[in-house]
Amino acid sequence: MNDALSAANAPKQASGAGLRQSMAWLHTWCGLWFSWLLYAVFLTGTLAVFEDPISHWMTPEHHAEEAALEAASAAAVTGTAGADRGQRLARAVAYMAQHHATQDMWEIWPADANGGGELRAYWFDAERRYVMARLDPATGAPLPDAAPAGPVRGTHGGHHFVDFHYTLHAGTAGLWIVAIAAMAALVALVSGVISHRRIFRDFFTFRPHRGARSWLDAHNAVAVLSLPFQLMIAYTGIVFTATLFLPAGVMTHYGTDAGARVRHAAALSSPVPHARTGRAMAVPDLEPFAARAGQLMGQPVRAVVIDHPGDAGMRIGVYGWNDAPGLERRMSATSGMVAFSPEGEVLHVRQPGGAGDGAASFTSQVMGNLHMAGFGGVSMKWLYFLCGLAGTAMMGTGAVLFMVKRRAARTDGFGAWTPRMHRVIEALNVAAIAGLPIACVAYLWANRLLPLSIGQRADWEQGMFFAGWALALLHAFVRPPSRAWRDQLATLAALCLLLPLANALTTGDHLLAELARGDLESVGVEATCMVLGLLAGIAALRVRPRAAVPARAASGRRAAATLDSPGGAS
């Protein structure tokens, strides 16, 4: 590691070459140690773009139910909104006053965007859990929870990928690990750009069949060409829970106790402070508030939230329903909101997707929405999917490039430990780059193969994901690298290409039937899986068998020699 150490420790001061050298060092090592984790975060994040279609595919028993719901909401007559909203609100208030009068927050969802649907009330129970009661819209009496009909395929669906993407299924600890990895990604991205000698001259350059040079070209191309997306996605990923990761500002100005973040969050959306006064005051008739708010924000009423109900200091917030066409063209996905005093005075208005809460809140809402592709509709999701794949490829090619260059140059970056470290890095490369996709497809296979009747079925499916990954890791350490690459890529190709067959054999559904009934979500999942399988198959065929490895290393050495010369190969 001596060459690397000197580059990191003694950059030539105030010289472009020294700066580039130190940034290259930072890029290489920061990139290497985080590449496997970031690859996993990027790949699952890319799949998470299509959380809903994946969940849809994984719950075939619910397809009829979903279609019926969609038809019902499409058939619902618009224009009836408000007809009985006043009665619904009054019934919910009566229910809350009778059963949960002491709660400090009542939240009432009077109706869906068309004025029909369920009447629901939410509050925080004694353990500060957010709980809900479904009420009969005609009487206000609580409705029993509907019993699930038929055999249910217990599954976490696409949410498994979302959860792994941002917590690694490890709760707060995972959240921190992913955030640190995202910071490392930012450092690696910026240092990579600074150390890149010819960003514009090499902009469109990819030279295949040239060993390390090809890997470098591929790494540069996917990174540089998708750079705006990568910078955006890493930064917006961190700032989701900004005040958790960087609490100093909140701690200084809102206190160091556990409630400080909550107070800060509350102050963000309500500039007018509202505290209990101690004077009793009945909750007023809510319909005039709902009607006025609907006019002010131009959206149907989704929820009415009452803080400190029954106190003269109460505040009534009315929130709107977002509609799909509006969401597609708005940077921020926040709905409209109007806050009232109990006397009916308008305290605060936020237009749908607007900056009414303040510039910083708006920025943060926009960044959250940017991260989750909450706008733009289906075509935007596909753009995110493609850019996400480019980011995944950036991590994968970077990790491979590290090993290809080391193998070619026969450097001893780790001293006496070099052969062992190289073996470990090589195995981790295989298990991360080929093994994780295997685990993801194994999760989909488990969804079709596990019996419906077993207990904790959803967790079993998730277990299969981790079992698949563990097997891949074991295999990567047992088999020689080039064999491990070929085996795992071939396995991945087979699992991906045969997934529609597994579906047909277990549920009787297939691509043609899905197409015929217009189930594009299922078609999308299976077709995308097959395309990725095809790519994995091509990659498997192109991994040269063991005998050819020295040849590849030799051509790589030539490329690496030109690579490290100041002017590059051209």
């Binding site: 150490l5 990191a8 500002g249």
Partner: protein
């Protein structure tokens, strides 16, 4: 250079630690000091400074790796951090 130079491995470890933790200290101090200076409500200003704090951290890490002299790099990160933290604590409102 009065002190004996550290071994390269230790110097690297110190540099990485300085970049990570010194950078975090600078970002934290930034999030403490900047809110009172912004023309916005305190809540909005705190959020804005916190969001910008991550950029400060990234830049601090990169800057640390461009510096030859570790002591200068430490001073460059930690002295502004101390000053900004002190300023932020002084400007704290009565509510906190």
């Amino acid at each position: 250079m009065a002190l004996p130079r550290m071994a390269p491995g230790w110097r690297l470890a110190a540099r990485v630690a300085l970049a990570v933790f010194g950078g975090y200290a600078l970002a934290s101090a930034f999030a403490m000091a900047v809110p009172p200076l912004l023309p916005a409500s305190l809540a909005q200003a705190v959020l804005a400074a916190t969001l910008a704090g991550f950029v400060v951290h990234v830049l601090a890490v990169l800057w640390t790796f461009t510096q030859t002299d570790l002591r200068r790099a430490s001073a460059g990160l930690l002295l502004p951090a101390l000053a900004m933290a002190a300023f932020g604590l002084l400007m704290r409102g009565p509510g906190a």
